[in-house]
Subunit: 297 residues, 2 copies
């Protein structure tokens, strides 16, 4: 019987140790930049992208150790995007993962630079022989290309831009889906793809896992929208009710709360069907899909 | 007789055409993000880093076509750093390259994202088979590793952090030099190193060219400090007198104006001595070194 809680704990433990070690680097300055980078990166969080990367590797018979640097790089890119999204000129958030946001704990300039630093450092680790996950330079280059595409102007950053532009506007369901596929879906999909590739998945497996990823990526966002309405701020470590305050288009606002819940369940069902060709080694991915709609934070 | 003006014009022309073509990409959103990225990137400028990359390749018998994508990526990273440095939370500049800064022409959120987008896109081009300069994956990975190191927390970003922290403080000459070696020197040095490596330079040549780069990188900054005092704002396309206003430590403020000029000349002399083993193919690098202290913008 697969136990998600102990799985997540053991994988997070492995991950946090490696992440802390990777960020144990010298500073050429006062140390303030590195402190701001470490503050935001090592403050917990769900670590969803690294866990999905590991679980995808395991689903095809691999292990977390085969994609550890990549998992760290994915979380560094995710964290940089949170730091920049929280800035006063963007979402102007004061609380993240239960702590003051980076620009509140340090200052705006430090937060901008800490974000820049984390993105750049992620690419440094992915490209440096002493860190890379594969001994095949061509595969490492492919990973960098896929990740920078997902994180960039045709992925996450465009999604954040659409998010900024959509505030106060009436989005259609299609427009809302496009926003989320770019803002969060692209990075979730590439996390799963990288884990699978590093563990030697074949092209059919990669395709099924990417389909799984697209469904749970969107389900995760629908669930996030629902939690922003119904969630407990203390439990979630960030403010709730903010979407409504910013007049943001969300699944509950477009569909209503119950139909939004039904839509999330439907997406999770679709994601589980993509995993049918896989054996019990894909149980972590199956459990994560179910967890997405059952979580309360 | 080598003519720097026509050399710079022909290399800039080649470069601008390629840069414009590279940025002719689809947008998954409203187009605003890509517009902001193109606005700042395609607004002229000296293109010093790409030109140095070309000139280093040529100094060892290569050609600009061998390092074109790398040169574009270096300028994209430089432009992203200018966009973020100009933000209200950082240097709060209104004018850049004779035009409103990105956050003035668009808005702060767009400028933050345009910077993020340019950095990410640079890494995408460097890692993508349809764009990369070398057919050797290992060399391409090495370039990404060198560039992301120079641009990151142990290079340019740390330099910008030191710059923010040093405002209103009395820096020593050593501290000022460390700031500039990080903030501008690291990217100038890596620009020259990448051009040389892509053109097949040997390790002795790379070492001499890196020494040349370190000297002219610092000379360029000393000259910039001098121009901030003595320069013509209209000619330079940006405000002057700003260092004094921000109470920044500069070479003129620490050494006096004439000794700062003498220091810049001394650095250029040192850079020229590093080029002694090279033949006339290094004349562009020689002329650029002299241009740095003779320019008026």
């Amino acid at each position: 019987m697969f136990e998600l809680k102990s799985y997540l704990e053991s994988r997070r433990d492995l991950f946090e140790k490696k992440l802390d070690a990777l960020l144990n680097i010298p500073s050429s300055g006062s140390g303030r930049l590195l402190s701001a980078m470490r503050y935001s990166l090592l403050s917990g969080g769900k670590r969803l992208r690294p866990i999905l990367c590991f679980a995808a590797a395991e689903a095809v018979g691999g292990s977390p150790s085969q994609c550890m640097t990549t998992a760290c790089a994915l979380e560094m890119i995710h964290t940089y995007s949170l730091i920049h999204d929280d800035l006063p000129a963007m979402d102007d958030d004061n609380l993240r993962r239960g702590m003051p946001t980076c620009h509140k704990a340090f200052d705006e300039a430090s937060a901008i630079l800490a974000g820049d630093g984390l993105l750049t450092l992620a690419l440094y680790f992915l490209s440096s022989p002493s860190h890379w996950d594969s001994s095949d330079p061509a595969l490492n280059l492919t990973l960098i290309s896929l990740i920078s595409h997902a994180a960039g102007q045709q992925g996450m950053i465009e999604g954040q831009m659409l998010d900024m532009e959509s505030q106060g506007k009436n989005l259609s369901l299609d427009e809302l889906e496009q926003l989320h596929r770019l803002k969060t879906g692209a990075m979730i999909t590439v996390s799963i793809r990288c884990g699978a590739m590093l563990a030697g998945a074949n092209s059919h497996q990669i395709q099924s896992l990417e389909n799984y990823a697209a469904h749970i990526g969107l389900a995760f966002q629908v669930a996030d929208d629902i939690l922003n309405v119904t969630g407990n701020s203390a439990l979630m470590g960030k403010a709730t009710g903010t979407d409504d305050k910013l007049n943001k288009a969300t699944y509950p606002s477009l569909l209503g709360l119950e139909p939004a819940r039904a839509f999330a369940r439907e997406l999770v069902d679709k994601s589980l069907r993509e995993l049918e060709p896989f054996d019990a080694k894909a149980d972590p991915l199956r459990s994560i899909a179910l967890y997405i709609i059952e979580r309360n934070r």
